[in-house]
């Protein structure tokens, strides 16, 4: 079903949706720039500042690593998630419900699937830039002990893609701005408890399966295994999980967008 949806996609039309966003953000560049800034602050405070108190923690491949090396790849994943979710929930909701933007777009040959892909594409372009910059800073600060870290960039893109697709799907279920409190709580809970700040082993045994259920956990585990240089077969499992999120999110988003807008 999804494949038939995707086969009919005209990339030029999805591209036009991206183009629109680029045009709008050319004027709001300072907001764009501030998106670069935020994850560095978290890295400095919660990785390096707090890291002095923490010392070393168990590394994914065995042994221990200094805390900043442990937290930095998680921040990379969190940044990809945040960029994707804010764009596809808050911004898309505004366009959907308040600006009537999509009513106008769907009166053209653009289909709901192309619209969803366009919004996600823009989101990825943006978060891809952020991730590259962040990874660069990590390297400069000596937080990427392995050359595998290069692959953390496509990994961050995949994380962004997964959350963008899930975010689009989620947005179609939101009724009012009030519902965004739930979105914020979901983001916050994942940020805090998806293995971002502590290894999975630090959680009580009964919590671990819950943690492993969250997409962010798989994102964090993937980037962390790459930047610390210990990817194994488990990494492929994380990739598979994220790909499933992409497919599921896209499928739901395209169907629900059509239901909501083509009434």
């Amino acid at each position: 079903m999804l494949s038939t949806l995707l086969l009919r996609v005209d990339p030029r039309r999805a591209g036009a949706v991206v183009e629109r966003n680029v045009l709008v953000h050319r004027r709001g560049w300072i907001v764009l720039l501030s998106g670069f800034f935020e994850p560095f602050l978290y890295l400095l405070a919660l990785g390096i500042g707090l890291g002095h108190l923490v010392g070393s923690v168990p590394a994914p491949g065995g042994g221990t690593v200094p805390y900043p090396v442990f937290v930095a790849p998680a921040m990379l994943a969190v940044q990809a998630m945040n960029a994707a979710l804010t764009e596809t929930t808050f911004n898309v909701f505004g366009k959907l419900k308040y600006m009537r933007l999509y009513d106008a777009v769907l009166a053209t040959p653009v289909t709901p699937t192309e619209l969803a892909l366009g919004e996600i594409g823009w989101c990825l372009a943006r978060s891809g830039l952020y991730s590259a910059a962040f990874l660069g800073v990590m390297a400069v600060l000596g937080l990427t002990p392995s050359w595998w870290a290069v692959l953390a960039w496509p990994a961050a893109l995949l994380i962004g893609f997964a959350f963008a697709a899930l975010g689009m799907a989620l947005t179609t279920f939101l009724r009012s701005w009030q519902d965004f409190d739930y979105v914020v709580v979901i983001m916050m809970v994942m940020f805090m408890f998806a293995g971002t700040f502590t290894p999975l082993s630090a959680y009580p045994a009964w919590v671990r399966p819950l943690v492993e259920l969250t997409p962010l956990y798989h994102g964090v585990a993937l980037t962390r295994s790459l930047t610390t240089g210990s990817p194994d077969l488990g990494a492929l499992g994380h990739v598979a999980y994220l790909v499933v999120c992409v497919v599921l999110g896209l499928w739901i988003a395209a169907r629900r967008m059509a239901r909501l807008l083509l009434t």
Binding site: D181, V184, M192
Partner: protein, 262 residues
Amino acid sequence: MATTVRAVPRGRAAHVLAYHLVGYRRTWRATVFSSFLLPVIYLAGIGLGVGGYVDRGHHLGVAYLSFLAPGVLATTALTIGVEESTYRVFSQFEWDRTYEAMLATPLRVVDLLLGQLAFVVFRALVAVVVFLAVMAAFGTVHSPWAVAVVPVGGLIALACAAPTFAFTATQSSAQGFSVLQRFAVIPVQLFSGVFFPVSQLPAPVRPLAYLSPLWHGVELCRGLTLGTLHPWPALGHLAYLAVWAGVGFALAARTFRRRLVV
């Protein structure tokens, strides 16, 4: 020229406060998330999770959770102070135009400000009381002085809200708020000694932390809940916060007047 100075009816700011309280009866549910649930998530996520590793090193002299909790409490007061003074105030200028409507009555600009700031303080007080109960449940309250964090929380909110009111009055679009959030609020939250002592910061940037009103708030709250506060530093911190509140109010009065009385 003869001018008649009419007696100013008293308690007009109280009417403004009442207006905001009535509105709050409808919207309080939504604030439960940001002012209660999120701080608890922070406390549990970092305090419990990372705390286990921190406590191995005995750097702080107290359990990390007890160190962190009063910091999160002060941060909550700051967050409410800023949150209530950005979009909410902006929408009353631009979208709902409530200020315009209020000024068409005998209310003066200072009445609007006093009334609405009182409402912000009220919201902070509620959140701080609830959070203090959560702290007690986590076993992080070590001194009866801890009850004093309630008024301190109100003062922190005021010290952050007043200057933010002034900032908001100068904005022509809502875009400035995400910039404020990212370039001012988040750095302040992260580097004011909430998560780690300011002494961990490199010496050249440490004075910046001392400038932040949140650092003074955190020092007060932490001293109170741990029972380690000394009177002289405490007075200094209080005075510094009071200066922020006072100067902020004066600026807010100016910028509000400039925007509304044209």
